[in-house]
């Protein structure tokens, strides 16, 4: 057993865990934050995307102990109180989800995309940038629309933008 300390959705958590525990297991099983999903075992689908110190990571491919001391935001921590994050609202408004299983990862990836690429995202950019997330239900059509609209709305809401260093 190893001890990890993380800030998850603004709350400090410390736990003794088996060192092989993945971040997604830690979130789902130890913290019962089941909004983060597991859709594959090869780091391909993006159902597990969370923000680690503000950047999107696949929590299925991240050891919890490796991120000791970091700050994690999951889908449960995205809204501020009752007010949905603009990207959440955009997914609802544009029917960017059907079964909802890929949705938390999609939304977390989308927010990260806006942080990296700005508020004005064209279809091509969105489609290319979304290549780490699989959705089997929507055919992506409405996800693309939702992300474009969510990006604009984040700009209007004055959400801080973190342009990628690259």
């Amino acid at each position: 057993m190893t001890t990890v300390s993380l800030t998850v959705n603004g709350r400090a958590v410390t736990a003794a865990i088996d060192p092989r525990t993945l971040l997604v297991q830690f979130l789902r099983e130890n913290l019962r934050l089941t909004g983060t999903h597991v859709g594959c075992d090869t780091s391909q689908c993006g159902a597990c995307v969370v923000h680690l110190d503000g950047k999107a990571v696949k929590s299925c491919t991240t050891l919890a102990v490796a991120v000791d001391g970091s700050s994690v935001t999951t889908i449960e921590g995205l809204a501020s109180g009752d007010a949905l994050h603009p990207m959440q609202e955009a997914f609802r408004e544009h029917h960017g989800l059907q079964c909802g299983f890929c949705t938390p990862g999609m939304i977390m990836s989308a927010v990260d995309m806006v942080n990296r690429r700005g508020h004005h995202l064209d279809e091509k950019t969105i489609r290319e940038d979304l290549d780490g997330n699989i959705c089997r239900c929507t055919g992506y059509h409405n996800i693309v629309k939702a992300i474009a609209a969510g990006a604009e709305a984040m700009g209007r809401a004055g959400a801080p933008l973190r342009q990628a260093a690259e």
């Binding site: 089941t34 391909q44 059907q98 079964c99 909802g100 299983f101 938390p104 089997r136 239900c137 992506y140």
Partner: protein, 787 residues
């Protein structure tokens, strides 16, 4: 139309929990004291199990129990069943081998279930499974669909030539005659590639046993929890139905793969009593690839006969369908009654004859996957039509228009009685949307850029709302395909609707509520839709085959009628009028020709307080149920046109344009319907361009992860132009035809027709990967150079 009624693009009620991470999927459920199951699976495609030694494994840390097929047999747990009996040409029943949940002496595909380890943690269960010693005697594997019947190796003794059935439909003699009279015959050899459904949520189960009550509960990823309970009770023998509760909570996509009753779910619920603890299992993605029922996998030879004017005279089709190593729940119906009756497509074809041989192979079971039989039929029809038009030198759109059915009802030669449609209208609209007139210029522009542009059509038809029950019963179905609904009105006029349909992405919590809101004139927020729990909903047949609108909502409609009728009785007493003089509209019961009225909520309260009427003459309360059995199939139909551009240097195909015009009858929520179309097209494009489950000669699945099996991603697809035409369905009260599968049915031939058009009619198999397209493009160019 009200803002939340029928026809409005109401935003989904269910979305809030999904976008905030509060969905409740099976793997999110944890029961107190829960332990974990891990299945030891066969590494061999075909082998005799000589011995299983679990002794070392049983002593490993955390292990609570290890069970094999012998333990299930000792508890008299029956095997998994196939619920549709098909008869051979000679009238004898199909030949099916047993399908034990845990292997009995033999394994028949890689991933077959050998034993289950139940342990405190999943890691401990996995570690222990590795310590189980299985003595296998390997047998040769039968893998190939086309040659399985002739193989020396026999998979099930009950099916000596690996053939489950030789089935046929249609009039062979009439077809022979049509072909003799033909001036042109088109012949095609087609493979409908094997697919893995890959709902993003892997299958999962939590079995729980309450020893005090003697009641089992199974939480599971199911599209039809009541059917699961029925099979687990009546056939597998877990417990009687009153002692078995099946809950299908939020389910992350199904596409058919979660209809079936599988080994893992069965074992988890049984093992919960065995070990006295709740038992949880969640598939990892590779397990899903190995053990979820796959889809398609047909090998077909098809011929179409036309006369000198280009009118279709007849069609003959010979298909071999791979059903895998065991017969999954509805497997036998897919290449038979869900396939051959659709071979008339949208065309007036006087004579059709179809033969289907279904074979066992050492591969995962094959069953319904989005469209189930209908995409296979549409692929045959639409490839034949397109190639015939080309061979006759006719414009493919005009050739279709020439042969469309124009008068309804139309009896096809293969069972179906099409009730209504307007195929020409859909085609015309789709041609406008894709700017067919501008195609020539676009082709020239592409050619100038060194690219090949092509267009492909698909005029599909599907049969949904599978029904009526007596009819499907006569065709071999083991169940009736009606649906149930119960409308419970609460004393203040809010409403709970209990439905036997199950939503796993379709948005029933919204569309069903729209219907109720529309009919009762109450706010959509005052309507809750309850589904997926056999303790709450009495009985239901679940969601598949695009049936929930046409059948599930019709049941709700029927129950609402009864609620309104009862409400009129109550209102008559309250308003002191004759029942015949009470009208119900816009949420009010009103006395004809007066201003006396009672709103729906007040009427509900009056029904429950029962002060204004004699409780002996009129029962208090406001709750009504209905079972709706359809009178016919419904026939959604439409036209999809795909335009591609191919780079002959790389073989990469880009879909440049997609126009879809569908006739789904009346539409409850266009936003949700369009979403269904988008998703269906994506799956069909996946089949046409990217996806293919491949077994090697030894029966190893070499495409068992997302690294090896290409799922469509956002940048593989365009945005789709989706339009609609409407001919209301005459056979159900809402005029709904169904929309869930259309995209997946329509799209594969549209894509392949477009690619072959771009390639100068060079044929290509699915998936048309860049490598395959590159090769075909070279062949085409060489051929054209030689000509």
């Amino acid at each position: 139309m009200s803002a939340t009624g029928i026809g409005a693009a109401v935003r989904r009620k269910e979305d809030h929990r999904f976008i905030t991470g509060q969905g409740r999927y099976t793997d999110d459920i944890n029961r107190p004291g829960q332990v974990h199951a891990y299945f030891l699976r066969s590494p061999h495609a075909h082998a005799i199990i000589k011995a299983i030694d679990t002794e070392a494994a049983a002593g490993m840390p955390g292990v609570i129990g290890i069970f094999t097929g012998a333990d299930l047999a000792a508890d008299k747990i029956g095997g998994l069943i196939c619920g549709w009996m098909i008869h051979n040409k000679d009238g004898t029943p199909m030949r099916a081998g047993p399908h034990p949940a845990l292997a009995q002496g033999k394994v028949r595909y890689v991933g077959d279930h050998v034993a289950v380890v139940v342990a405190e943690t999943l890691a401990e269960a996995k570690d222990a499974a590795e310590a189980i010693a299985v003595d296998y005697e390997e047998l040769p594997a039968v893998v190939d669909t086309g040659t399985a019947a002739g193989a020396k190796t026999v998979i099930h003794d009950e099916a000596p030539d690996n053939t489950v059935f030789n089935w046929h439909l249609g009039d062979r003699e009439a077809v022979e005659k049509a072909f003799r009279a033909a001036s042109h015959v088109t012949k095609l050899d087609l493979v409908n590639n094997r697919l893995v459904p890959n709902a993003m949520e892997p299958r999962a189960a939590v079995g729980d046993y309450d020893a005090g009550e003697g009641v089992f509960t199974l939480y599971t990823t199911s599209q039809n929890p009541h059917v699961a309970r029925l099979v687990l009770s009546a056939f597998i023998g877990i417990a009687p139905e009153n002692k078995l509760r099946v809950i299908a909570p939020d389910v992350g996509g199904g596409f058919g793969s979660k209809i079936f009753i599988y080994a893992e779910e069965t074992v988890c619920v049984w093992a919960a009593k065995k070990v006295g603890r709740p038992v949880k299992w969640t598939a990892d993605r590779t397990e899903a690839f190995l053990s979820d029922a796959h889809g398609r996998d047909h090998v077909t030879h098809a011929e179409l006969a036309t006369d000198a004017e280009g009118r279709i005279l007849g069609m003959r089709v010979k298909t071999t369908a791979n059903l895998g190593a065991y017969l999954s729940t509805f497997s036998s119906s897919v290449p038979t009654y869900l396939y051959a009756p659709l071979l008339s497509g949208q065309y007036d074809i006087p004579a059709i004859y179809c033969e289907v041989d279904a074979v066992y192979t050492n591969t995962a079971p094959v069953d319904a996957y989005r469209g189930a039989g209908r995409p296979e039929a549409t692929f045959v029809v639409e490839r034949l039509i397109e190639v015939t038009a080309r061979q006759l030198g006719k414009d493919p759109a005009r050739f279709r228009m020439q042969n469309y059915i124009r008068r309804f009802p139309h009896q096809t030669p293969v069972i179906m009685m099409y009730d209504t449609g307007n195929y020409g209208a859909s085609l015309k609209k789709a041609l406008e949307m894709i700017d067919y007139k501008g195609l020539g210029k676009r082709k020239r522009d592409s050619a100038r850029a060194g690219k090949l542009r092509g267009i492909g059509f698909s005029s599909y038809i599907e049969a949904c709302g599978i029904a009526p029950s007596a009819a499907v019963g006569s065709l071999g179905a083991g169940v009736g395909l009606w649906e149930s609904a119960e409308v419970r009105v609460n004393p203040i006029g809010t409403v709970e609707v209990l439905t036997g349909s199950h939503s796993h992405g379709q948005g029933h919590e919204t569309t069903f509520a729209q219907l109720v809101s529309d009919r009762l004139g109450i706010s959509i927020d005052n309507v809750s839709i309850i589904h997926g729990d056999t303790d709450k909903v009495q009985m239901g047949m679940g969601t598949y085959g695009s049936r929930s609108g046409a059948v599930g909502m019709s049941a709700i409609f029927k129950a609402l009628d009864k609620v309104i009728a009862k409400g009129k009785k109550v209102a008559a007493h309250v308003l002191e009028a004759d029942e015949a003089d009470i009208d119900f509209a816009d949420g009010h019961f009103a006395v004809k020709g007066t201003d006396r009225k009672l709103d729906f909520g007040s009427c509900a309260l009056q029904a429950y307080v029962a002060h204004k009427f004699n409780g002996q003459e009129l029962e208090p309360g406001l709750k009504e149920g209905a079972f709706y059995d359809p009178t016919n199939f419904t026939f959604p139909a439409g036209v999809h046109i795909c335009e591609v551009e191919i780079d002959p240097q790389t073989g990469v195909t880009r879909i440049e344009r997609w126009a879809a015009v569908d006739d789904f009858g009346n539409v409850i929520n266009p936003m949700i319907v369009e979403g269904q179309v988008h998703g269906g097209i994506a799956q069909g494009v996946g089949q046409a361009l990217l996806e293919g489950a491949r077994y090697n000669a030894d029966g190893q699945l070499v495409t068992a992860s997302f690294m090896d099996y290409t799922m469509p991603r956002a940048d593989d697809l365009p945005s789709f132009d989706v339009g609609m035409t409407v001919t209301p369905c005459p056979s159900n009260p809402l005029g709904i035809k169904g929309c869930g599968e259309a995209g997946a049915i329509a799209s594969p031939p549209a894509v392949i027709n477009a690619i072959t058009d771009a390639l100068g009619h060079e044929e290509i198999a699915m998936p048309a990967t860049p490598q395959a397209v590159w090769r075909a493009a070279r062949k085409s160019m060489n051929r054209m150079a030689a000509e």
